[in-house]
Amino acid sequence: MRAKKARIYGIRLGGIGGQGNVALGIIFANAMAKAGRWVIQTQSHGAQVRGGLTKSDIIVSEHPIDYPEVESIDLLLCLHQVAIEAFAEDMDGNAILILDTTYVHSIPLVVERITRRIIKMPMSKLSVKHFNNEMFANTIALGVLTRCCKNIVDKEYVIEALKEHFRNRFEEENERAFALGYESVANIPFSL
């Protein structure tokens, strides 16, 4: 059993500008808010709109959160090689690491000392295969994320937040992409 003390979880979504990880963070954080959690979402990116390293951080707790920055990364999603190289070392022990292997080609050695909870999935390739477009890679990632946080947020809230964000555009594709991500990790033995 986990200790009673309020746990604060840190989630970092990394990639390069244009991959949609900031939007992903907003949607996922909004879903957690709908589930009644206290959430903070922040982002940072380089000066360029596309192509630079970006991160979107989520802090979630049962109680109001004081310090608004991620102090420990319990879950790291990397949609690109530059992200894993930048953030791998910041992971907490036994953190969950989710990788889009379309763009993450090699895992830094340091990861071996930190965690074995790694999910590798060629999300961008899967998006092209199913939707003829890379655009839905982050919705697939959202499905994976949701499964990994099943004790924090129900998938119904995430789907609601997803629809809200896209104002019902691409509804059918998004739902399929989400299910694709969620179902493919339905049986993993770990979650936050």
């Binding site: 709908k34 959430v39 310090y67």
Partner: protein, 383 residues
């Protein structure tokens, strides 16, 4: 029922302003305040308000003053470089006693500095940025929920005291999204524009206080003619360069704030009752301080936090009471030490004051504050 919502700080600022009755916004986009302008451009027309994108910040503050005199609750939002440009207009609003709210979402400076990084570098500029011996009200929230709540307070003060109110935010607060409990309508007081009851055929004096010390307003361009001037003026608003008029005007400008400090000055306290060490922090830094406080209290350190919400007028009286009871004061700020001077003034040399400053564009972490706390504990034990 209160609603639990998730929103960006800048958006909460816009939403709170509209709730407070703001119906005019003029501004020029600047990171990290642009999202406020975007929100207002989208939402103001829906409630019959007007949004104007101006050519710069000088015209923005001027348009806001004009709109306010014409009867609309008005606001602008900017960041450091634009705030500098607005200073002359802020002085004009102060002298002409025109209610308005100026939001400064601070970023790293001086000059264009660090557009996407936090800094608390404009604290003294908010107090003394415009020339002349003027009073000012400055409010500084530290959570997205407080942004919503206190921007309404800012409008209330602006209207009640006919003064510009400066609303300081941190870049982090403007850009981050956070959950908060949206207050019910019955938890919120909204001060309406106080309008003159002088009959159309009688003469209206725009600067003649009523029995409560309030200056009721008339919409510029409506029935009563009146004059607005930045020169020293009498009750009619017309310039009168006499010593007596100057003295009376300046005294009244200061007195209207001074006499109402009890209403204006807001602060929060945490665990101050038995504190031997006191943290004094505001804005986003107060959140780091709160996190550090909880950790230190877990380790039985007698520590308290004093968080000014109204930064000016500075809550000197309450702080002085607290300072009498503590040995050490730690003042973390995202600048080289600005509120520190007023803390020292309140302290009168009684307790040891330890500044904790950071100016690299990062937040002060709870660990950094904890380090200062433990050092202070050790030094106090050695005494």
């Amino acid at each position: 029922m209160s609603e639990f919502i998730f929103m960006q700080g800048d958006e909460a600022c816009g939403m709170g302003a509209i709730k407070a009755g703001c119906r005019f916004f003029a501004g020029y986009p600047i990171t990290p305040a642009t999202d406020i302008a975007e929100y207002m451009s989208r939402e103001l027309p829906k409630v019959g308000g007007k949004f104007m994108q101006m050519e710069d910040e000088i015209s923005s503050i001027s348009a806001v003053i004009g709109a306010s005199l014409a009867g609309a609750k008005a606001m602008t939002a900017t960041s450091g470089p634009g705030f500098s440009l607005m200073q002359e207009g802020i002085g004009y609003a102060s002298m002409t006693e025109t209610p308005c709210v100026i939001v400064d979402v601070q970023r790293g400076g001086p000059s264009t500095g660090l557009p996407t990084k936090p800094s608390q570098g404009d604290v003294m500029q908010a107090r003394w940025g415009t020339h002349g011996d003027h009073p000012v009200i400055v409010i500084y929230p530290s959570t997205v929920g407080e942004v919503y709540r206190y921007i309404i307070t800012a409008f209330n003060y602006a209207e009640r005291y006919r003064t510009p109110v400066i609303f300081l935010m941190d870049e982090v607060l403007g850009h981050m999204r956070e959950t908060f409990v949206l207050p019910d309508d019955n938890e919120i007081y909204i001060q309406p524009r106080i309008e003159t009851k002088v009959k159309d055929e009688d003469i209206y004096h725009p600067y003649l206080p009523n029995e409560e010390g309030i200056l009721p307003m008339e919409r510029f361009g409506s029935e009563h003619r009146f004059h607005v001037s930045g020169l020293v003026h009498d009750e009619s608003g017309f310039p009168v360069p006499s010593e007596e008029t100057a003295k009376r005007l300046l005294r009244r400008l200061h007195d209207k704030i001074k006499r109402n400090e009890e209403d204006i000055i807001l602060w929060d306290e945490e665990k101050c009752e038995d504190a031997e060490i006191l943290l004094i922090a505001y804005g986003v830094t107060a959140r780091s301080a709160m996190a550090a406080l909880k950790e230190a209290r877990d380790r039985k350190v007698k520590i308290g936090l004093f968080k000014p919400i109204t930064l000016w007028p500075f809550p000197i009286h309450r702080l002085r009471e607290l300072l009498c009871k503590v040995n050490t004061v730690i003042v973390p700020e995202l600048n080289m030490g600005q509120i520190l001077y007023d803390v020292a003034r309140a302290n009168r040399g009684r307790s040891e004051i330890i500044p904790l400053n950071k100016v690299n564009g990062d937040l002060i972490t709870p660990e950094e504050i904890l380090e200062a706390i433990y050092l202070a504990v050790k030094e106090n034990e050695e005494l």
